[in-house]
Symmetry: C2
Subunit: 229 residues, 2 copies
Amino acid sequence: MGAFYSSEKKFYVSVDCIILGFKNSRLYLLLIKRRFQPLKGMESLMGGFIRPDENIEDTVQRTLYEYTGIDGVYMEQVGAYGQIGRDTGERVISIAYYALINMALFDDALCRRHHARWAPLNDVGPLVFDHNRIVEDTIDRLQRRAAIRPIGFNLLPEKFTLPQLQSLYEAIYGKTLDKRNFRKRMLDMGVLEKQEDKDKSASRRGAYFYKFNREKYDELLRPGTFFVM
Amino acid sequence: MGAFYSSEKKFYVSVDCIILGFKNSRLYLLLIKRRFQPLKGMESLMGGFIRPDENIEDTVQRTLYEYTGIDGVYMEQVGAYGQIGRDTGERVISIAYYALINMALFDDALCRRHHARWAPLNDVGPLVFDHNRIVEDTIDRLQRRAAIRPIGFNLLPEKFTLPQLQSLYEAIYGKTLDKRNFRKRMLDMGVLEKQEDKDKSASRRGAYFYKFNREKYDELLRPGTFFVM
DNA sequence: GCAAAAGTGTTAGGTGTACACCCATGA
DNA sequence: TCATGGGTGTACACCTAACACTTTTGC
């Protein structure tokens, strides 16, 4: 052991995290100012190098925890990015993951400490290296994924209203949806549990809270589509 | 340069190629017997280590050429696999790509030289490391992808018949399709060009050849779905 | 003439989509 | 009482899916 592949070259391998949150009907992307050369000061995704004792997803969770203070976050791999010269410092092969977080649990103090900011997703400026491309690929993937699996709930608090849920899907797909059709579909799936109480923060009348019932969803034996646009 | 990330560890990074072919109404997967320890002799996907002067996709194309003699192959990334211990030799992070090849162009001599064989996809035995898992993920991805983009044609000769095309989709989705509905849909898309000649190898009557017209497809401004199951 | 695969239309049911008004409430 | 957002049902168009017989031709 130790000599099997010894004629081969090794590479730096990092993860890049596309951390998405949802607030006030908009999707946000957590960005930091890069703290070291090259391109110090330019905006960048969160990232970290993989350590020998870590699985890739461990690195992601560690990085997420470091920047957001949140644990056990929903995440999914977007893909590996390894073009020569993508990192203008040295060659780094990076594996991108997007993470969907409930912004209510987010630790703002950590945010300030890292000089991080939540950028509205549709107003993201130039990022270092190929990070803009990675973000594009992420949205593409999120759209496809959210259409077949109920992953959007990871962006919401445990209790949410149907108007909130609708505005989330509208933000993900970048278009407005018909209220009646949306509600009908969501409720017909039978995985939402209506609560007794209402959210009165957005209107005088108030909107009923709902909870996503994962058990019921799991019983549905994974239909091909969750929500079609 | 050269010192930016020097406190970080480096890793072996390889690519694994899931090479798929189609013949006699079945999908086949190209496998080799592993030539070196550990697990020498066990069946494995094609793979190769990334070299410092190669983009990831260059490594894939090089590996494909080496094992199949084919150039400019259609391929797509499946994802990165980097669990500790996945390679029982040393830690290797591998990036998997599937490739769709036209078996008619395949070089059988190379196949024999590498002790490779085409295994029917639904009859693949145990493979080294996590390669079975990678193959599963590939099929999943292929199914989703083939439903929205006309990638299946990469598995066929330039000229093919509708019965052939149908049996290809049946192989990809593992279920039989209605002949009339299939033909109607395919022809209604308007991207198939009927040829004058027929393939008489599969029946006395013969089936007309068709060609896929990429230009026409490109004009279609990329509809959301290509072929829905 | 017969076996074997190629080719061809119609219909019923279901699904997506468009659309407008009343309700509840706090100020 | 009024302004604001929450909540509700229907009709039509379109698409999907089911279904059976005729044609061609080599042997």
